[in-house]
């Protein structure tokens, strides 16, 4: 996503422009947003980051006019939206918030179909769209369509929230700390999924986050704001990391910026190793002889759809007659679009010094080892010197 975004690319997004936008809350000395000007190119993802109270959320909410700007213009594809009816405007801008913000008394399908319903789509079209989107965010429509939000986990609710934001195919999508309310492992998965959705849809996304790592991972550009929503730096993650504009930015991205380069590189860019694999249900004796013949001590277990399920040492496997289907969720799997930083996280809980890597539809691609990653980092450091 960092590499592919350019203005020439055709996409379903729209160009977004803020011109000298000001918001002053009554009773406060300084404006919350003091003259923000900014252009977001079509199909780009821009991450708004900054310390709390810097006006990043206020800026976001002025784009769909949940907060009315005092002055300035906001243009979508050159058209000034401050003159539009705000209710109609909001139907044409996706809005995803922390925790999903699902309406608890409506089913998943009704939540996702909310905006199509407001736009008076016919039933069949809405139902088709709902299923399509649930599928896209990784929820089986047959299972989840008729559930209520309280019957979903936090991560699932957030997925539905993303689906709802995309339902009416809006050119611009606003996200307010979209993954702030879920645990780190779920967050990483949701980020990966958003990246693959964005790879396909190329929306114009404005996303507020307080997490600089998330900004570096997801953003084509990062907007770092200081108090009053004054721009400290607005540039690509690579540039922000390599040459922070001033001390404020340098402090904000933190001292580990060398390490943060890890969040710019994807697992898929490195060479994967391919240890022996076996299928659930195979006779253990055959597997053991095959793996030992290859001179290895462990084996990756795949299921019938080639998804990795487990990574076992032979001595553990030898307790069974056929390869067992594991009953617990794996934590040592990363998507090929995951960052090296995510991969290192996953490796920490692995006893094999590596993480299994999956491609589209969770298919097994190979294994990324700790040694590969460290060798890569050292290589880069030498280059830098």
């Amino acid at each position: 996503m960092n590499q592919t975004a350019t203005t020439e690319q055709s996409g379903t997004g729209a160009q977004l422009e803020l011109v000298d936008v000001v918001k002053q809350y009554p009773g406060q000395k300084n404006p919350a947003v003091g003259g923000l000007s900014l252009t977001v190119e079509l199909g780009e993802t821009v991450m708004f980051v900054g310390p709390s109270g810097c006006g990043k959320t206020t800026s976001l909410k002025m784009i769909n006019r949940l907060i009315e700007p005092d002055s300035g213009r906001i243009l979508i594809d050159g058209e000034d939206i401050t003159a539009h009816d705000p209710t109609r405007l909001r139907r044409s801008i996706g809005y995803v918030i922390q925790g999903g913000g699902l309406l608890p008394h409506m089913t998943v399908a009704d939540n996702v179909g909310l905006v199509p319903g407001l736009l008076s789509w016919d039933r069949d079209r809405t139902a088709g769209r709902v299923d399509e989107l649930l599928d896209m965010v990784g929820l089986d429509p047959k299972v989840y369509r008729d559930r209520f939000p309280k019957e979903l986990s936090g991560g699932q609710q957030q997925r539905v929230g993303v689906a709802r934001g995309l339902a009416a195919d809006p050119p611009v999508v606003l996200m307010d700390e979209p993954f702030g309310a879920v645990d780190p492992i779920t967050r990483q998965r949701l980020q990966d999924e958003l990246m693959s959705i964005q790879e396909e849809l190329r929306k114009t996304i404005v996303c507020v986050t307080h997490d600089i790592d998330e900004a570096i991972k997801l953003g084509d550009r990062i907007l770092i704001l200081r108090e009053g929503a004054r721009i400290a730096q607005y540039d690509t993650p690579e540039t922000v990391l390599a040459s922070p504009a001033d001390d404020f930015v340098a402090d904000f991205i933190g001292s580990g910026s060398k390490l943060k380069q890890l969040t710019l590189q994807r697992v898929g860019e490195l060479e994967l190793s391919r240890p022996q694999t076996c299928r659930v249900g195979e006779p253990v004796a055959e597997v053991v002889s095959r793996v030992e013949a290859a001179g290895e001590r462990s084996v990756v277990v795949l299921d019938e759809r080639s998804r990795p399920r487990e990574w076992l040492f032979l001595r553990t496997l030898a307790q069974h007659r056929t390869v067992p289907a594991p009953d617990h969720a794996l934590q040592t799997v990363v998507d090929h679009r995951s960052t090296l930083s995510d991969a290192l996280d996953a490796m920490l809980v692995s006893s094999h010094g590596g993480a299994m890597v999956t491609g589209s539809r969770d298919r097994y691609l190979g294994v990324i080892s700790y040694d590969t990653v460290t060798a890569h980092i050292q290589g880069q450091q030498k280059e830098a010197l």
Binding site: N64, L66, T87, R88, L89, R90, R91, S92, Y95, I97, G101, L102, L103, P104, H105, M106, T107, L114, V115, L118, F148, P149, K150, R164, L174
Partner: protein
């Protein structure tokens, strides 16, 4: 006692029906008025405390006194009865609806507006459904209270079981005074229990599925 009831069986049933009907119709009217008022009150900053004070003060007005004030204005009969019951029934519904609407998560309301719902849509499709269980609790409180208030309405020649109570009071010491008062009182208690059961059922049926616990 048995004789007393036996002799007036059809009249008792008729008055019970009238009593029940008075309460249900007034309750319905009161709920509509109260929800409308609550919607208005919660949409403007600073009006909600006013509404709460009004409902608290309103409930302290003795119903007899209010009836006395109404009679010169609207005369006797069913009209003052309906006005009286509706006035008292509206107060708990108003208070509960205000509390219920204010209890709806502001973030959720903003999320709904952010999707492009109009203020009317947000009210009918988000705020009211989510506040509904609290509203219905108010309706149940109102129903119980209205049963008693409706008895007072009989003083203005309104319909209902209150007639028996006032007859009993008027003939105090007389042969059937106690029977009359008892029939009125027990009848009202029974009606109140029936209405409450109906409302509990109604509340269950009308509460959106996703927010039941």
């Amino acid at each position: 006692m048995v004789q007393f009831i036996d002799a007036r069986w059809t009249d008792i049933l008729f008055q019970s029906y009238q009593h029940f009907s008075l309460v249900v119709q007034s309750l319905l009217l009161a709920t509509v008025v109260a929800v409308a008022l609550a919607a208005l009150v919660t949409s403007r900053e600073g009006l909600a405390p006013v509404a709460n004070t009004v409902s608290a003060v309103g409930l302290t007005i003795p119903s007899f006194a209010l009836l006395g004030l109404l009679l010169p204005l609207v005369g006797i009969g069913a009209v003052p009865a309906v006005l009286l019951v509706t006035f008292y029934a509206a107060l708990p519904v108003l208070r509960n609806t205000v509390v219920g609407l204010q209890g709806v998560d502001a973030g959720l309301v903003e999320a709904a507006r952010g999707q492009g719902m109009s203020d009317a849509a947000v009210f009918w499709r988000v705020r009211l459904p989510l506040a509904w269980p609290v509203v219905m609790t108010g309706v149940r409180v109102s129903a119980q209270m209205s049963m008693g208030v409706a008895a007072i309405a009989a003083y203005a020649l309104g319909p209902g079981l209150g007639t028996y109570i006032f007859t009993g009071l008027a003939q105090a010491g007389g042969a059937n005074a106690l029977n009359s008062a008892l029939v009125g009182t027990v009848g009202i208690v029974l009606l109140a229990l029936v209405l409450d059961a109906v409302l509990v059922l109604l509340s269950r049926l009308t509460t959106p599925e996703g927010i039941t616990v």
